[in-house]
C-alpha cells in the first residue's frame, strides 16, 4: 500500500499540521511515512502545501508530480492541483470560497464543508481535523486506535488536553464528507 497525498490551502488553515498529524498516526501504526512541506518563497504570499506519503514499503521520491489524493482548501490550490491527481484518484475540496468547482471526470471528487461547520460550532481551530476525518473516512490508511496515539506524539504535552476535541472533530468530519462525482 502506498498513498501519495498533497494537502494545500492558505497559511493558517493548518495544512502543515494536518499532514504532520497524519504521518504521526501512520508512523505509530508502523507505516513508512514522509512529510515534505514546500518551503521558501512558496510559503509566503499566503499559500501552503505539504506532500504526505504513507506506505507499507520504503518510500522513494519525496518530490511528486502526481498524487493519489489531493486535499485542496482554497481556489488557488484547487486550480493548481486538480490536474495533478492521478486518473482514478481522489480530490477533496472545501466549498468555502470556491467559485470554480472541479471539472475532471476521470477522478473521484468529494466535498467537505468543514469551514462552515467549524465556524458554526465555534471550533475553527480544529477545522483541519474535520478535513482529516473526512479524508480518513474515504482512505482508512490509519486505524482508529492509532489516531489518538499519533495525536499524543504530534502535539506538545501542553496541548494534550485538546486531544478529545480533535478526536471529536475527526468524527464530525467523517460524517460531513459527501460525494460530488465518483467513478
Amino acid at each position: 500500500m502506498t498513498e501519495e497525498l498533497i494537502i494545500a490551502g492558505f497559511g493558517g488553515q493548518g495544512v502543515l499540521s494536518m499532514g504532520k498529524i497524519l504521518v504521526y498516526c501512520a508512523a505509530e501504526e508502523g507505516s513508512e511515512v514522509l512529510w515534505m512541506p514546500a518551503y521558501g518563497p512558496e510559503q509566503r504570499g499566503g499559500t501552503a502545501n505539504v506532500t504526505v506519503i504513507v506506505s507499507s514499503e520504503r518510500i522513494s521520491s519525496p518530490i511528486l508530480s502526481k498524487f493519489d489524493t489531493a486535499i485542496v482548501l482554497n481556489q488557488q490550490s484547487l486550480d493548481k492541483f486538480e490536474a495533478a491527481v492521478k486518473p482514478g484518484g481522489t480530490l477533496i475540496f472545501d466549498p468555502n470560497g470556491i467559485t470554480h468547482e472541479p471539472t475532471r471526470k476521470d477522478i473521484n471528487i468529494y466535498k467537505i464543508a468543514a469551514t462552515e461547520k467549524a465556524q458554526a460550532m465555534g471550533i475553527s481551530k480544529v477545522f483541519n481535523m474535520m478535513v482529516l476525518g473526512g479524508y480518513l473516512k474515504l482512505k482508512p490508511i490509519v486505524s482508529n486506535e492509532f489516531i489518538e496515539k499519533g495525536l499524543m506524539k504530534a502535539l506538545p504535552a501542553r496541548h494534550h488536553k485538546l486531544i478529545p476535541q480533535n478526536m471529536e472533530a475527526i468524527e464530525i468530519g467523517k460524517g460531513l464528507i459527501e460525494a460530488v462525482h465518483t467513478l
Partner: protein, 360 residues
C-alpha cells in the same frame, strides 16, 4: 534493545545526532535551507546536558575557523551551512585538510551560482569532491538520502574523521533537510573524557605536558621538498580510503539492462522512476552513491560491463557524470539528465529521459 523511533526533519536529525554522538562543539551561521540545525541545537541547550558548546558566529568564515581552532584541540567539532556559506568556508576547509584536522561539515545544497535560490540543488559536487579550496586535498564526502541517514552518518563521520584525520562533509540538500521521516535514534555516546581526548588526538593542542614536545597544528611548510612528502602522505591516505571506505547501494542492478546513477534526493527520484519503468517492463536498476569521495570507481566499472547504458540523474548541469564516465571508461552510453537552479526533476521526466537518451 529496541531503538526509539521519532519523526523529524533532516536538519533536525543532524542536530540531534550531533548531540547524541558526543559532539563537543558546533559553530554556525544562519542560512536557508538549513537554519533548523542551529535552531534545534539552541533550543535543545546541550550545554546543560552533554556539555556541548553551541555558538552562533559572525560569518561562515568565522564559523569554519572556529571549527578549525576547536577541532585542533582534539575535540569533535562541527558546522553546517548551505552553498553560498560553504563557498565562503573553502578557505577553512583547505586549511583543515592541510593541517589534517578531523571535523564535520554539513552542506544543504541550494541552487547557484551566486546567491542563487534557496531550493534544493546538487550543483556543489565539483566543489565538494574536486577540491573547492586550493591545493591537492579531499574531504570524505558522504551523501545521505533519508532522514535516517542524516542521523546515522553523523555517528559514522566521527569514526572516519578521527581514523583518517580528515574533515568529513555530509553533502545533502534542502529536500532531505526539510522533509520529515522516521528516524530511529540511538543511545547517547558520551563526550570524550579528557583522557580519551588525549588518547584519540595525541596530536591536538590541549596543553603541552612535560612528557611530550609541543604540538603544532599547521598547514604551513616552507620547504617544498617536505611539502611534497606531505602531499604524498595525503595522497596515500586518500588511496587507502578508496580501498576501504567506499559506500554505495545497488538496487535491482543484478538483472538490469539500464541503471540510474544518482545520490541524495536524486537517487530517491530515480528509485521512483525505476519503479515506473519496471511497471512498464523495463529492467532498470539504481546505483546510489553513498560516498562521493571515495568514489565507487571499481563498482561502476564492473556495472558498466553488465548493463547497456547509464543515466546520471543530478540536480546540476552535469557534474558527477564526469566521474561516472571516467570509471566506466566510456565503454557504454552514459548520459546526464538534470534540472537545476532549485528545480527538482520528477520521476516521470527521469524515466522519459532514460527512454529518449539511452534506450532510444
Amino acid at each position: 534493545m529496541a531503538k526509539e523511533m521519532k519523526l523529524m526533519k533532516g536538519n533536525e536529525a543532524i542536530a540531534r545526532a550531533m548531540i547524541a554522538s558526543g559532539t563537543d562543539g558546533y559553530f554556525g551561521y544562519p542560512i536557508t535551507p538549513q537554519s533548523e540545525v542551529m535552531e534545534t541545537l539552541m533550543s535543545e541547550q546541550p550545554w546543560e546536558t552533554t556539555g556541548m558548546v553551541v555558538l552562533q558566529a559572525e560569518s561562515e568564515l568565522a564559523s569554519i575557523n572556529m571549527v578549525y581552532g576547536g577541532a585542533a584541540t582534539g575535540k569533535k567539532v562541527a558546522t553546517s551551512s548551505s552553498s553560498p556559506g560553504i563557498s565562503l568556508m573553502q578557505e577553512g576547509l583547505t586549511y583543515l585538510a592541510g593541517a589534517e584536522v578531523p571535523c564535520l561539515i554539513m552542506n544543504a545544497m541550494r541552487g547557484g551560482p551566486g546567491l542563487g535560490t534557496i531550493q534544493p540543488a546538487q550543483s556543489d559536487y565539483f566543489q565538494s569532491v574536486k577540491g573547492g579550496g586550493h591545493g591537492d586535498y579531499q574531504l570524505y564526502t558522504i551523501a545521505p538520502a533519508s532522514v535516517q541517514e542524516m542521523y546515522d552518518f553523523v555517528f559514522d563521520a566521527w569514526d572516519i574523521a578521527f581514523k583518517y584525520r580528515i574533515p568529513v562533509l555530509i553533502l545533502t540538500d534542502g529536500a532531505i533537510g526539510q522533509c520529515m521521516e522516521k528516524c530511529y535514534v540511538r543511545e547517547y555516546v558520551p563526550r570524550w573524557t579528557e583522557e580519551e581526548r588525549r588518547q584519540n588526538a595525541p596530536w591536538g593542542c590541549w596543553g603541552k605536558p612535560a612528557t611530550r614536545g609541543h604540538n603544532i597544528v599547521t598547514s604551513l611548510e616552507l620547504e617544498s621538498s617536505r611539502q611534497e612528502q606531505f602531499n604524498l602522505k595525503l595522497q596515500a591516505k586518500y588511496r587507502e580510503m578508496e580501498a576501504k571506505e567506499v559506500k554505495f547501494e545497488a538496487l535491482n542492478c543484478d538483472d538490469a539492462d539500464y541503471v540510474f546513477v544518482a545520490y541524495g534526493t536524486s537517487s530517491r527520484i530515480a528509485m521512483k522512476a525505476m519503479q515506473l519503468g519496471r511497471e512498464k517492463g523495463l529492467k532498470i536498476g539504481v546505483f546510489r552513491l553513498i560516498t562521493l569521495f571515495p568514489f565507487p570507481k571499481n563498482e561502476i566499472a564492473e556495472l558498466a560491463k553488465k548493463v547497456k547504458g547509464m543515466l546520471c540523474v543530478e540536480m546540476s548541469a552535469g557534474q558527477m557524470i564526469e566521474d561516472v564516465k571516467l570509471a566506466a571508461q566510456c565503454s557504454i552510453p552514459i548520459e546526464h539528465f538534470g534540472r537545476f537552479g532549485g528545480i527538482i526533476p520528477t520521476s516521470e521526466e527521469v524515466l522519459e529521459a532514460l527512454e529518449k537518451q539511452i534506450i532510444k
